[in-house]
Symmetry: C4
Subunit: 256 residues, 4 copies
């Protein structure tokens, strides 16, 4: 397993919290992280390439293409309080060994370079049924954290497990002495679910004091959902995706 | 493949026997080992983390979560006779190379650090049909051992193989000069089978002189089986698992 | 992962372009590369063996057999302009890690030994439906390249991805500072499609000035298609492949 | 990938030919090799353990069990002509990378330790239909060899490939400068086929001058086939395998 990190900047950060959201069920974590990156806003910190990822290039709207990668951003807190490192990317690794190796690499980068004080992973709690009032499920690395999670209105999980990078980053952090928690937005899980991203970010705001304008997230999510419906209608009429108006495809960046 | 062992204590042990039981068919080996750990009782010796395991955190009843791991315990014999190292854990490795590497690592740890004199693996002999008088099937690393197995009332296997960590630990031990045997409790294999764990522990008692109160194992097993039935009834009525009374879920620790 | 490259010659090349086509959908890239090798013509440069490939020997018409391998050829430009390295082979690697490792090895070989100036990958754009006027789809590593692709009449891709070595070589080149593009011939993708190879080579001629007699490619393609039809008819009559006239099997080298 | 070879003897051999037959379709190669080992007879040379193999112990008739392994035997020629190394074992490796690594290790061991002059692999040519006069198909590393194969009455293969260790050992030998050939006995491939082993050994005798009494092979093969039929009959009557008379199971060593 080979991992190459390209540093884009070398900022000084104050015991940052590392917040992670990768593509996964209902795009809950990825949509939340992309919102944080654009709204805080956060600056590019590093790019990570690895044979841990699927063998593919992703093509961007301008016709150019790049290997799948993990992206790290940073945000210096305006008031001198804790800074943040944001971790997102194009894909999760291809298997359990690849996930372990990448998770350890990313945790070590955060610890050794920036002394990250806490790790948060955002993702989906898939139920298969639509809920009128979706909840945020959570687990943490120790009892202090789980108490905070309950105070913030999260439902504490009591059994089961979390698979993939959301679980692995949390568990690997714990082994390496980094406390943390995982926030999972309740979702039927059938397709893109921006509402689940929103409630997860509300919990994050209460727990970590990292607050953004969620109206923009709601707007962006609704635009994407509308475009998705349009595509479904069109495919019912056997039309092609190219009948979308210019700009509409853009709203689907998170779902392609 | 990366393996990290964290030693929790450094006891002096007298040519200990290493007894292994991991999650597998009907939870025979895992349930037996958890019983030994709590009833001997045994003390925590080491934790082993590895990318050999599935990529997951397991969530405990208190809401906190940890990476999957192998756990080692030790028990100093009260009468100065042979001590024991108990090996259990959350999961088996994800593939055959991972199983080989972890098995060799664990055998080497036992040999080099504690000069283990013998290796025992406990597991299931799956038949697919219910037996009124389940038997213990066995194989050993050499003829001396197989003779002892027969004297202790085990059915000596004559062909076939044992797959997974139960087979691999035994075979890897043999290559490294550690004699040993495998005790497999007959079970239909359809679900959790505490009776198979019980007969395997009876054989272990006769063979290794490691004896515990099996009434407790029977009680714990029956509690878990009752809870399982309740869940089945409830899922027939489309009710949720949360209708279980507090404490009942606890009995299912071995089956979750 | 182990890779062994055997150099067959050590030519001096002038900032060569590296053109890649491997077995894949409809044999578009492989058929195009084999045509370039025989018609430019190009000379053998190196053979690459690796455990990244499927475990198999391929048997040649003369009854001898060899491990699967990647083959590199070179062609010195007759007029002192840019030279070319041609990359083709028997198979693509067996998984995503193997693809990453081999792609990086091949790019590094081209960069360090020959300072390749540009990388081109040729392959298939599979649509599932037959087109009367098949198009060439394309993506590049940056905006300068994508502009050239559009000027050359290619359809610029705007989303999605390219999987396998065609995508990986392009993306790995970009990470390593080698610009490049991918030309994908539109094809239903059901079977061998020499027409898709032809239009891809037409685009390559416009973009890279590497021109060959495409009549020969068309003839060879038609011969192979005829033989394929014959085999289909025969298998309808439950006859054996051995009824093919001597020499006919040769035409199927690309499809076996 | 880890490979451990335990040398059991250190004989001096005269440019030995290495003859390989592993478990595979219809047990053609394995049954042939086991016959050679017992009838030449050959002596134990080395045992090879590796995480390339499936994770399993095999249980022997005496109730003891061992890790899966590759076994090497040697036979000094009685008349001072070329000696032989025989290579067989319990299983083929689990995947293509594992097959490559083990094949290279075994070829290197033969080359560096014993300067093997030639490599022969024995296996099955599966047709799916029963032939009254089964043939031996063959391929070699070069034209000299293929000419010898045709003279010995083998059908020279002209296309396709050989997968698994039979192909890989041959191809890896060629890359390393060891000439060789593969002899594949025609078989429907449905089950154990001792006749295919027999014709392959007849070809080997003509090509390499290694001759054994094939009556014994025929007798052993027929015994095993009879026992197999008996088991089929019994399973039709829902009886258990244990109704076999003592000693009958022994005949199935190759098929278990």
């Amino acid at each position: 397993m080979k991992i190459q990190l390209y540093e884009l900047e070398q900022p000084k950060l104050n015991e940052p919290v590392m917040i992670c959201g990768l593509p996964g069920s209902a795009f809950v974590g990825k949509f939340a992280l992309d919102h944080l990156v654009s709204e805080l806003p956060a600056l590019a910190l590093a790019e990570v390439y690895s044979d841990a990822f699927p063998s593919q290039v992703m093509i961007k709207e301008d016709g150019s293409s790049s290997l799948l990668r993990t992206e790290l951003y940073y945000r210096k807190s305006p008031d001198g309080s804790k800074d943040a490192i944001l971790l997102t990317g194009d894909a999760q690794p291809t298997g359990s060994e690849a996930e372990h190796v990448l998770a350890e690499f990313l945790i070590d980068f955060g610890r050794e370079k920036f002394k990250i004080s806490r790790l948060v992973t955002l993702g989906a709690y898939v139920t298969g049924t639509k809920s009128t009032e979706p909840r945020v499920f959570a687990t943490g690395t120790d009892r202090d954290i789980t108490t905070q999670l309950e105070k913030a209105g999260c439902i504490l999980m009591r059994d089961g497990g979390i698979t993939g990078m959301n679980g692995l980053l949390l568990g690997m952090g714990k082994v390496k002495g980094v406390e943390g928690y995982s926030l999972l937005g309740e979702t039927p899980g059938f397709s893109f679910d921006p509402r689940a991203s929103e409630i997860v970010l509300e919990s994050l705001s209460r727990l970590a004091g990292i607050t953004t304008d969620l109206k923009k997230l709601r707007q962006k999510g609704n635009d994407a959902l509308e475009t998705l419906k349009k595509i479904e209608l069109m495919s019912g009429e056997q039309s092609s995706e190219s009948e979308l108006e210019p700009g509409q495809r853009k709203r689907l960046d998170y779902i392609s």
